[in-house]
């Protein structure tokens, strides 16, 4: 056993593509998932655009057993469907493995929020006896982990992490640790969805959302025109396996692929907002690279957090300049085509980075035509850029000061 964690399966649900192939095709063609909200009437709110997964692109009843529908929020239905796809992609049937050797670690930002709003309305509008018997577990943060475990018979070590956007990387770091400690397979990644009015006003309360009405102009990370971000829903579920086990599986004739190795990971937390100490994003990246035994010069592409507001974009650009030099590494910001998906967004970035490593091409930052000069970064814009890609660095920042970094390598 090598103790190395490699990714063998992907399940993707994104606003611009449901399914890995559909999403990857959309990214490379520059198709955006940013559109006016349809799930509820957004006309009374300052921000009316989001990365919403259209109902006709993901109809839960087609993917999730009927008996699970009354007890699950949309976020959990997405997580269950993406898990099925990730297992199929990895050519793994969980029934073939000892149950204690498979675990689940996902991240989550807000639980089954739309479900929660409905039950709050039942309680406050009608009374306690109107609250669903499923509320006790359909809303809480562990819901996706628990339901994935039950549906697939995974009885190994499991967990749910909450660090907002950074969680998508933290769940993968956690899973990698479980594999290093002896678990054969981990289902990981993150799915988030909170596109209900009650979730929407929480997003708006940060004051960080774009209020521009044009979907092509609203979320422009690193651009001179950057003016905030747009939330979205979706994410990615990944199957991680111990590398030696996969090698044996392939030797025995399994038709799976190895997308790449999770070669390094680190997380840091920023000092309080009123502190004069520096933020810690660069340190997270340095520690992740050290963990992977990689020099900054070995990194072929960085998938940026891409906050979309000028101050946060500059903070990230500064970390990149300090690490890699002025325009020292290609920077990808595919989030510009999906919006920020909470913890799901960072997991989706990892899936995207693995597809980039597979196809040796970097997707463009959607509608962004150029990075602002002052950022001094080589942002990939316009068309996909072909490049020799062996090592990718993925960055994520969670609201409040969470920083995480993950290093991916192509299979040796």
């Amino acid at each position: 056993m090598t103790g190395k964690a490699v990714v063998t399966g992907l399940g993707v649900i994104a606003p611009n593509g449901v399914g890995t192939k559909e999403y990857w095709t959309a990214l490379l063609r520059g198709h955006s998932g940013i559109r006016p909200i349809e799930r509820f009437d957004p006309s009374g709110y300052p921000t009316r655009l989001a990365g919403e997964v259209p109902e006709d692109a993901f109809s839960a009843a087609d993917h999730v057993p009927r008996r699970l529908l009354p007890q699950t929020d949309r976020v959990t239905r997405m997580a269950l469907a993406a898990t099925d796809w990730a297992f199929a992609d990895a050519a793994v049937d969980p029934a073939d493995l000892p149950d204690f050797e498979m675990g689940v670690a996902t991240a989550n930002s807000a639980g089954g929020y739309e479900f929660g709003q409905r039950e709050l309305q039942n309680l406050w509008g009608s009374g306690p006896e109107y609250v669903s018997a499923y509320q006790s577990f359909a809303w809480f943060y562990a819901v996706n982990t628990g339901q994935i475990s039950i549906r697939n018979g995974l009885r190994g070590p499991s967990a749910a992490l909450v660090t907002e956007q950074a969680g998508g990387l933290d769940a993968l770091g956690h899973s990698r640790r479980s594999i290093r400690k002896g678990t054969a397979l981990m289902v990981s990644g993150a799915m988030d969805s909170s596109l209900c009015p009650w979730g929407w006003i929480a997003h708006q309360s940060t004051g960080l959302l774009s209020t521009r009405p044009d979907p092509e102009q609203a979320y422009l990370p690193f651009s001179e025109l950057a003016c905030g971000h747009l939330p979205g829903e979706g994410g990615a579920i990944l199957v991680l396996e111990e590398a030696g086990r996969v090698r044996d599986r392939i030797a025995r004739g399994a038709t799976t692929q190895v997308y790449g190795e999770i070669a390094g990971y680190a997380a840091t937390f920023d000092p309080p907002p009123d502190s004069d100490r520096p933020d810690t994003l660069r340190r997270a990246a340095e520690l992740a690279l050290a963990d992977a035994g990689a020099e900054p010069g070995e990194v072929d592409v960085v998938f940026a957090d891409a906050a979309g507001n000028p101050a946060a974009d500059e903070a990230e650009a500064r970390a990149l300049r300090e690490l890699f030099g002025e325009r020292g590494v290609p920077v990808a910001a595919p989030k510009a085509l999906t919006g920020r998906l909470g913890s799901g967004g960072a997991a989706l970035d990892v899936a995207t980075a693995l597809l980039s490593l597979r196809d040796q091409v970097i997707p463009p930052a959607g509608p962004v035509t150029a990075a602002a000069d002052r950022h001094g970064i080589d942002l990939v814009v316009g068309a996909p850029r072909s490049a020799r890609l062996r090592t990718a660095l993925v960055l994520a920042r969670g609201h409040g000061g969470f920083n995480s970094a993950l290093v991916l390598r192509t299979p040796a």
Binding site: F40, G44, Q71, F100, G103, V104, N108, S109, A110, E119, L120, Q121, N122, L123, W124, G125, P128, V131, S132, Q135, S136, F137, F140, Y141, A142, T145, G146, Q147, S149, I150, G153, L154, R155, P157, S158, A159, A160, L161, V162, T163, E164, R177, P197, G199, I201, A202, Q204, S205, A266, A267, T268, F269, P271, P272, R277, T280, R283, H399, G401, F402
Partner: protein, 422 residues
Amino acid sequence: MNRRVVVTGIGVMAPGGSGVEEFWDLISSGRTATRPITAFDATGYRSRIAAECDFDPLAHGLTPREVRRMDRAAQLATAATREALRNSGIAEAGIAPHRIGVSLGSAVGCSVSLEEEYAVVSDSGRKWLVDHAYTSPHLFNYFVPGSLAAEVAWAGGAEGPAAVISDGCTSGLDALGHAADLIREGTVDVVLAGGTDAPISPITVACFDAIKATTPRNDDPEHASRPFDRTRNGFVLAEGAAVLVLEEYEHARRRGARILAEFAGFGTRSNAYHMTGLRTDGREMAEAIRIALEQGRVAPESIGYVNAHGSGTKQNDIHETSAVKRSLGEHARQTPMSSIKSMVGHSLGAIGAIEVAACVLAMQHDLLPPTANLHEPDPACDLDYIPNTAREKRVDAVLSIGSGFGGFQSAVVLTRPERTAA
């Protein structure tokens, strides 16, 4: 290099008293802190009992600005963190901020503030299209409760990895297990680790009502939580927080820290059975216990005390009794086991950490806390549950176990500090 993890500080905000001393006084006396709910008017609810903290944030040094910003769960966690920092002495040890991490368990996050905000913006449930004009500037911090870990990190000057671990009712144990991993692998030397939950709000009380998980014994609140008793009929919801300073052993020794216990082992497994239900055989919890013992290199026969999950639901107490017999074998019958939830209730994602704190104190005091309200033993629960009165006993190794919605089953093994030094 074999890095070992020790406990060098504890802070506890539990029902019945603030701080470690009052907590220990309560649970070693067998008194209970369960009472009629005062947090809101619970008329019309099935279960109207809770174990509440009489907690004054200002008296614990929080500023009015902090109180406005923080959900109650954050306030409890911050107060517990400050107590743990004080009694560990790490604030004076000059530790580099990036060598300190945070791992905080919470099952339901900032649910009290979320519900208060909801009531305002929805005009008490009248509007689906809630009104953003009345939104609190802190709403996003309640919406994503990573903010709880942020508050602890700020209170402790931590700039290493920080996370909220939200594994339902094993969150507190799992957060400690995660913290120990961070120290063992060398990522950090110190982690502020524990759990917090303040779930006594209408929606949480209603959701447990709906599945009859909480006890309706409203006419006798002080004796409502009855783990292992034949007449038990559900748990008593509670709030609280505990934060432990976990530290690498050599690091603690070099700075002359007082070592309270070794965090020797942790194991977790899932039952993949049901989001809220348990099978009677205890197979997965037994496996979690086995893993924790193995990691701690502790033989089942060395366990001198088991701090039970003991929630007082019909099925939990049977499930858990099976798991302990399955993992400790014949030794289970000679091992005292108790549930402090009989006294301080069930504070969801906090209780695991509170119970580990109780285990550390039990080893320090050579005294095992009892299971209160245990007068009619259930024939299906046939171990030694230390009924009603604390028991003097010196123990070298203890086991603390938990079980959570979502199917999580976790176990922690602690040993006396003398064993670490030997």
